[in-house]
Symmetry: none
Subunit: 258 residues, 2 copies
């Protein structure tokens, strides 16, 4: 509401971009000026000029041979840059939803190098504010979050990334000691939609995680719960399903909904 500026121009430009996004899409053929004009219901002269401006700023690109337009690189550059920031901002309610259901600290993790980095966390009332903002833990396939974060890698990469030595060195009681075991586990994770670990990384500690994806479908983060087995042990699978559900909703929210 309230005061607006450039409302008309902005709306026109966005109508154009939307038309290009939906009608043409990345795989579709570029759209011509007249076609766009029809679809947004405006003067083609306006569309011609507007597309010129948009092209000059890199928001759309002109295909040389067909002289049609499609979405430009700049949109990608803008969005890619702040993705994590937005992730953190949006994740909170979903993390909290899990917290209220499970009553355990719930965190959001990303992969940095070969460490799992926590970028957001929500704690239940009455819980001591634990690590919170940024803990770095060894993922090396001994944590559920780490496994989830690599669960869309191909087998070759996994094999070269996780050597046996590395696997054995991860965690106190690694249940997974060979790349093949890891690959089998990743398959299970993909099938179930969430991962669980039982005292592998640390004695008495269990955890579950589920993947969050970006607009490319790539796994960019994991929603994770880590808690003492005495508290969470019985409910671990139930918690896993909650976490998976939250991660899915978060994924959807990230790209589409308003």
């Amino acid at each position: 509401m309230a005061a607006r500026v450039n409302a008309a121009g902005l709306r026109r430009d966005l109508e154009i971009l939307d038309v290009l996004a939906h009608e043409a899409g990345p795989r579709g053929e570029p759209l011509g000026v007249t076609r766009v004009a029809e679809l947004v219901g405006r003067e083609k002269s306006q569309i011609s000029r507007a597309l010129s401006s948009l092209a000059e700023e890199g928001l759309v690109e002109r295909d040389d041979r067909s002289s049609g337009y499609r979405l430009g690189w700049r949109l990608y550059a803008l969005a890619a840059r702040t993705f994590e920031s937005r992730l953190v901002a949006i994740a909170t309610p979903y993390l909290r939803a899990v917290v209220t259901r499970v009553q355990e600290t719930t965190v959001l993790c990303v992969l940095r190098g070969d460490d799992v980095l926590t970028i957001a966390s929500e704690t239940p009332p009455h819980a001591f504010r634990g690590v919170g903002w940024e803990g770095v833990s060894v993922p090396a396939a001994a944590t559920s979050a780490g496994r989830v974060l690599v669960s869309d890698w191909d087998a070759d990469t996994i094999r070269s990334f996780f050597t046996e030595r590395k696997l054995a060195a991860a965690g106190e009681h690694p249940a997974i000691r060979t790349p093949d075991q890891l690959l089998a586990e990743l398959e299970r994770i993909r099938a179930r939609g969430y991962a669980t670990v039982d005292e592998e990384f640390e004695h008495g500690v269990v955890g579950c995680s589920a993947p969050v994806r970006d607009f490319n479908g790539r796994i960019v983060a994991a929603v994770n719960i880590t808690a003492p087995k005495t508290r969470l042990g019985e409910r671990l699978d139930a918690a896993g399903r909650f976490v998976a559900n939250a991660a899915q909703q978060l994924t959807r929210r990230l790209v589409e909904s308003r």
Copy 2:
């Protein structure tokens, strides 16, 4: 160049979005009106109104508690439909394959104006996520990626694009100082299938790149490795062949997936 419409408003809006993207950063807090106004050098009243409009269209979102702004859902929705997005989605496994072989950060670049824009990167374990999403560097023929990206241009275009002055100004130790030298180098690149540079752009840094083509056969991106000479120097040509191989596979995949 050509007629423009809404040029002023569009540019202002994009300046704002750029500021939000860059200044807010990965971990960034939302930015307030005054801060944005300073950064883009405009009247805060304009920024206030412009942000209102942008928020109404979903290009930015207002953070309730801090009353600051950050990029909004709509940008991500649009970004998902760009060609770059598709490229990144498909390229990731191939980049990772190179990383596991060479153990160096591998990136995917496209040409934007006369800059090289990194649109995706994969890092080996134990590398700190450096630039990550997108950096902009001066290619002007002093980087391997830049040379690869222009290696299918015709001689006239090259000559008019890269003046001697421009060539001399690029990099610390430009080995290529005239258009003719550049053309000869491009010929070598085409013959070998990949490009290498040795401390030209920056002292102590070497790199190699290979072209990715679309279904028209046009070069649309480059797979690139840039690393300290002390680490990669000996293996530079081997790395070049890996990169070329990955780029070819990616090209094939890109064409098949239509």
